[in-house]
Symmetry: C2
């Protein structure tokens, strides 16, 4: 069993939205296809589509990771299926430790395509493969989900925010996440109150992503004081992703839940978050993104690492809402799947055979990741 072709192209995610850290006008993602000759089983094509926020990785894929994968003589595992771990090890050969940035996304999107092929060869949805391999056959029967939105738009006002959130609750979402942190705290509170007005005033249904707005523990205290009265579901990404001191100061001060990890990209970075960040295993959430963190091979180890500490699988809530994260949440019994619920966003939504109701999504039965049953992604991927 071997890889006979790898294709990649960058895709614009251009969008007028912004968050407190960057705007997304120039944002891109990599779409990849890997064709595998599986002998008498036939020829299969696996796809990957990278996550949002860290750009396409065309160069790194062409220069280092696709050639190493293609040079691999054999990708069959001991059980006769395709073993993504073999591909992963080939990609990471001659990479020095540390420096988990762009390459983690380049490897991640190729790893995603390997898992897609592996599941297609088995004729089964990916969540089932992950469940068997990494979760003792357990999985969610209904996948907990939440809707993310409430970005800042150039012409955005509070009524538009309310309208957006009303749209999500109409679609069956119970919990919603919005962006804050681009204005001052008074502005944040207006946004929070606008959102809560659509959510029956129930703070446990609202999460707030502040995209690294705090840079001192004083900032975090002011933020915590301002947000505390709302009893939010969580506050996300309070400060610089490496600033574990700041995070610890916040978790020491604030009773509510904190979510972070989307800007850490490896097991070793996650380990330091866990030992230095002061996160509390009974409430705080770890949002490492499998697609940006060397893919499912590394992510499965991150889940095991967290579990070996005091962070049960319920506290793992992967970033970004792509289909790989959906399968990870479903197959590894993780906390919740984020869904970019805006209808115009290419990464938004789920496979066509999935239904969302009462804050949960049904299990997709499409073989592989299910890109073929996600019209917006498939429109791009079929051109590869």
């Amino acid at each position: 069993m071997r890889i006979i072709e790898i294709r990649e192209k960058p895709v614009s995610l251009s969008d007028p939205m912004s968050n407190a850290a960057i705007n997304f006008q120039e944002m891109t993602a990599s779409a990849v296809a890997i064709v595998v000759d599986a002998g008498h089983k036939g020829t299969f094509t696996g796809y990957g589509f990278s996550s949002v926020g860290r750009y396409a990785q065309s160069g790194l894929i062409a220069e280092r990771f696709a050639p190493r994968l293609k040079a691999l003589e054999e990708v069959e595992g001991a059980d006769g299926g395709l073993d993504p771990v073999r591909g992963w090890a080939a990609m990471m050969a001659n990479e020095k430790p540390g420096g988990d940035g762009d390459r983690a996304g380049a490897v991640g999107v190729l790893d995603m395509a390997l898992w897609d092929v592996a599941a297609k060869i088995e004729g089964t949805p990916l969540w089932r493969i992950l469940s068997e391999r990494y979760n003792e056959d357990r999985h969610h029967d209904l996948v907990p989900v939440y809707a993310t939105g409430g970005h800042y738009y150039p012409d955005g006002d509070l009524e538009a925010l309310r309208e957006e959130i009303r749209g999500y609750t109409d679609q069956g979402y119970e919990r919603i996440k919005i962006k804050c942190g681009q204005g001052d705290l008074a502005d944040d509170c207006s946004r929070i109150e606008a959102a809560l007005s659509v959510l029956d005033g129930d703070g446990s249904r609202l999460a707030v992503d502040v995209n690294c707005m705090c840079s001192t523990s004083g900032d975090t205290q002011e933020m915590a004081d301002a947000y505390s009265p709302y009893g939010l579901s969580w506050i996300e990404e309070p400060g610089h992703p490496h600033d574990f001191e700041l995070l610890k100061a916040l978790t020491d001060y604030y009773e509510g839940a904190i979510a972070t990890g989307e800007n850490l990209f490896s097991m070793s970075e996650t380990y330091n978050l866990l030992i230095y960040g002061g996160l509390r295993g009974d409430r705080d959430l770890i949002q490492v993104d499998p697609a940006l963190s060397y893919g499912m091979v590394e992510y499965a180890n991150i889940v095991k690492l967290s579990e070996a500490g005091e962070w049960p699988r319920s506290q793992m809530v992967p970033h970004a809402g792509h289909l790989l994260a959906y399968h990870a949440v479903a197959g590894l019994s993780l906390g919740a799947h984020e869904i970019a619920a805006r209808p115009d966003f290419i990464l938004g939504g789920l496979q066509e055979d999935v239904r969302v109701a009462d804050g949960h999504a049904t299990l997709s039965q499409t073989p592989g990741v299910g890109f073929e049953s996600h019209p917006k992604l498939w429109k791009v991927l079929q051109t590869l």
Copy 2:
């Protein structure tokens, strides 16, 4: 003053050498040229050549960083010269925090070329610009240097190692660094003893780079026990670069100096090394590589950060031995400059107007970085 052209090409650093972590058969580096229209002062070309170990960054440069630099309307600073900080800020726009890996090298090599142009416009060597800007006009009159070599070669034996080191002492080097960690500790000790036989048995003249061979604190204790009798100048890169717990266990146990940081690529990563790693300001060395860490703009901040803690400039010893590091050590009065002293290695040696004697190098007077007076690098760079 604006940038009118940016060119890049990947260059093979192919070399039969290896260390305990990776081999270098496929290793590449980026060579870049930036052409600047400096108005009535004329047109100047600055060059950059990236460091070793992290590959060329052709893709990231072409996709993100060169276009942002070229789109910049103005690179003139308040003093009428070219201000690399303006270029740096443009390159880092819309980059999320964290993920300091490949992009840190892509930005670093472009930043290097910006500093080369800036110094050429002033008609002065780069170390002087750095001295004025970041070191209150102080600088080294003679730059402390050490030779690095003693890699593992397929046909290497101890006599070859002795011969190599003899060559370095003949060239005027006092301190030498060799690789260990690829075999067992007995093999390491044989290598150390072979090296010491050429260095009058003086351990303070020998450093040992183990390229992350330790993965538990038990490993570090065994290593420390084996190496302690030699009184080495330092032990370099004992474990995974993010494993601050392991580093702290080692510094708690071992009296001698430890050097690390070459696989950390930003100010925030360095900060965590300093607060969690247990490094001792009176002996341990910080080896962050400016070319791989977003260039001199970020590195100057890293030096300030360290100095604001308990790590004086004498403890900063940049990785890799490229010409940017030479200027940083000279102009910022840092601890020592590493020189890859093998005559066949493209990054080896210094500018032609520099002399090495008694473990020190003279100051280059070539304007800019001085690539034009480094024949091996210039042979490549002039083809851009």
